[in-house]
Subunit: 259 residues, 2 copies
């Protein structure tokens, strides 16, 4: 397994490479198209991690875990149920989640597994879908909970989940993740709030990629957020949310106090 | 008023410029950032128009015309109600609309005014929003009608409207359009199906830009589709849909027969 990360150096240079705890082994070119070793490393204390990719869109699943479906008394869907989060919603590890201007309501966290697409794909058969997956990252699918059902005629999925900073990704992209044996653990200010097995997923990653690719062309770097399970809740201004998945690491973001 | 178009020349070169019926006066650089005259023209018979911009996302409004709200017996919304169509859904004038693989249901057309954003903007006050509008284009907001409510628990707005080729834009971007005096006229195989005044809009363009920019950062080239009004319906394979708005021209796309 390899862990890819994007960084910004303390002197403002952007780059990417293989994450090795205390340093990043730098690469050049396109992460998704035969990147080349740059022949240098950067120590972690000389840089900050950014979101490990810059998706053109995030496809965010609803109702994709058996335990949550049972709690909500919803049928397991036959096809992925999703909304889109725009690329402008994406932030990386350590970046602050910002409360939308004027919104005083609840802000919810959702810890999720994110699939990072490795190449442009469309109408991919199930048996080929695995080859379209570059790797996996952690997602915090943030929601302005009171916007979602503010209007009685129209559930505002894209608006409530599409605000800038509401798509937290990172810290790295792990390739060849043994996702069926991993758990998503979400902590708020250090207290565990979610701890669910990815093996409880209704539509698993390769099938998700195949099915969603029948709905739209997926591009390299696009992210499919696999949906969350039990334990979602809201966070107060100043709270820190940590989403940890074995083999990927922990994605930490604070809900910034209002400016 | 100026009409901007993007083209591909018959020998495969891409470009953009000012559309003048029989020719395009070519420009260079960034359409949205001080483009420079290229000092040449290309005749229309030597090129094909492409979508006049390549949005990172389309923000597509629901319930934004009084006449349609009255027919549906819905309250006029206080804030724009929208879904997102991905950039991969966009096609230009003359490009075929493609039926999704395996989908045999109804495909609906919706003729709409599209706002083209001219610069990156976020939390724009109403009085500044006009300056963020580069111009206007015609939109056919295509929908796989039977996908929308296929699942009883989740209205699939992004999926039913997000398929590749379901975001038709063009033929040009008209700057300084006198939109309140214009009408949207939609014809299917030459028969008029929609003819509604843009003055019936509930939340007008500048206010839309201001309000949506409070929900997400808008980027240059992004499109806000203002929603449709009375007369939407479905089209058969092989049917041609024409959306015409005074001052912009006619956007024509055929629903291609299954391959």
């Amino acid at each position: 397994m390899v862990q890819w990360a994007r960084f910004r150096s303390n002197d403002g240079r952007g780059g990417f490479g293989i994450f090795e705890e205390t340093q990043i082994v730098e690469y050049e070119g396109d992460l998704f198209d035969s990147p080349r070793p740059a022949g240098r490393t950067i120590p972690m204390n000389a840089c900050t991690l950014r979101s490990p990719c810059a998706p053109s869109k995030m496809v965010a699943l609803w109702n994709n875990f058996h335990a949550l479906a049972a709690k909500l008394a919803k049928q397991a869907p036959a096809h992925p149920l999703f909304l889109l989060k725009p690329g402008t919603s994406v932030i990386g590890p350590g970046d602050p989640i910002r409360r939308p201007a004027g919104y005083k309501g609840k802000i919810a966290f959702e810890g999720e597994l994110g699939i990072v697409i490795g190449r442009r794909c469309k109408d991919v058969p199930a048996y080929e879908a695995e080859s379209c997956i570059f790797g996996y990252t952690c997602v915090n699918d943030v929601t302005a909970a009171e916007v979602l059902n503010e209007n009685p005629d129209f559930a505002q999925w894209c608006r409530s989940k599409g605000y800038d900073t509401f798509g937290c990704l990172g810290p790295v992209i792990a390739t060849d993740l043994d996702w069926p044996s991993a758990r998503v653990v979400t902590k708020v200010d250090g207290t565990e709030r979610q701890n669910y097995p990815l093996s409880d997923m209704i539509i698993p990653p390769a099938e998700l990629v195949s099915l969603v690719s029948h709905d739209m062309t997926l591009l390299a770097g696009d992210v499919i957020a696999c949906g969350t399970s039990l334990g979602v809740g809201s966070i107060k201004d100043g709270a820190t949310v940590e989403i940890e998945i074995d083999g990927i690491g922990a994605l930490t973001n604070m809900l910034a106090p209002p400016r």
